[in-house]
């Protein structure tokens, strides 16, 4: 399961019918221990109502089409969870409630 930060969205009018209605978000993968964004991105189909700045969990491949709402969507990456917190080696490395500036780009 990939963990990344939602940093944007994609608009497409002319698309395959199997993507009709899908919300497409740009997710940039993060290092789990430091939460530093990697120099990469993926475009995911949102299945949980994620928004910009959220740290999310995505599934790849056929796993991206396993819920009633995603099974008929031609997705190769789907967002299935929004993270509240991450604990690694006994320390809380991420706490959504305490995070300031999730979207540094929003000023």
């Amino acid at each position: 399961m990939l963990v990344g930060r939602v940093t944007g969205n994609v608009v497409s009018t002319n698309k395959a019918p199997s993507l009709e209605g899908a919300k497409l978000l740009i997710v940039q993968p993060v290092e789990l221990d430091t939460l530093v964004m990697k120099d990469d991105y993926i475009i995911c189909v949102d299945d949980v109502g994620a928004g910009e700045g959220d740290l999310v969990v995505c599934a790849y491949g056929s796993s991206a089409r396993q819920t009633p709402t995603s099974k008929n969507v031609a997705s190769d990456f789907s967002i299935y969870a929004i993270l509240d917190s991450i604990d690694i080696r006994g320390a809380r490395t991420y706490d959504k409630a305490k995070e300031k500036n999730a979207c540094s780009w929003q000023g």
Partner: protein, 102 residues
């Protein structure tokens, strides 16, 4: 299947209904030559009740949906076993009870 050590957990309240009840853990890959952690941590679904510090076996892709708990769920990585011993070429490399053996 690959080996990894459980080093933490993640919590999510807002998630796909199909993920309800599944425990999400953070694990880091284990290099079988040295039995040391090697590589970047990742999130995986627990199906066996693994806890922090334990070395576990995990499966990725559609194989991760072959367990009772994850069948039909939107999961692409699952912990499917807790490792007791690792023997390589007749040598015990890891013993859960005694810690790591070189």
């Amino acid at each position: 299947m690959q080996l990894a050590r459980v080093i933490g957990s993640v919590v999510s309240t807002r998630k796909s209904q199909n993920l309800e009840g599944l425990k999400l853990l953070v694990a880091v890959p284990i290099d079988m030559d040295t039995m040391q952690e090697k590589g970047a941590p990742f999130v995986t679904v627990d199906t066996v009740g693994a806890g922090e510090g334990e070395i576990v076996m995990w499966a990725g892709g559609s194989s991760s949906r072959q367990t009772e708990q994850t069948s039909g769920k939107p999961v692409d990585s699952s912990i499917i076993g807790i490792v007791d011993f690792v023997d390589i070429l007749g040598k015990r490399r890891y013993d859960k009870g005694a810690g790591e053996v070189r």
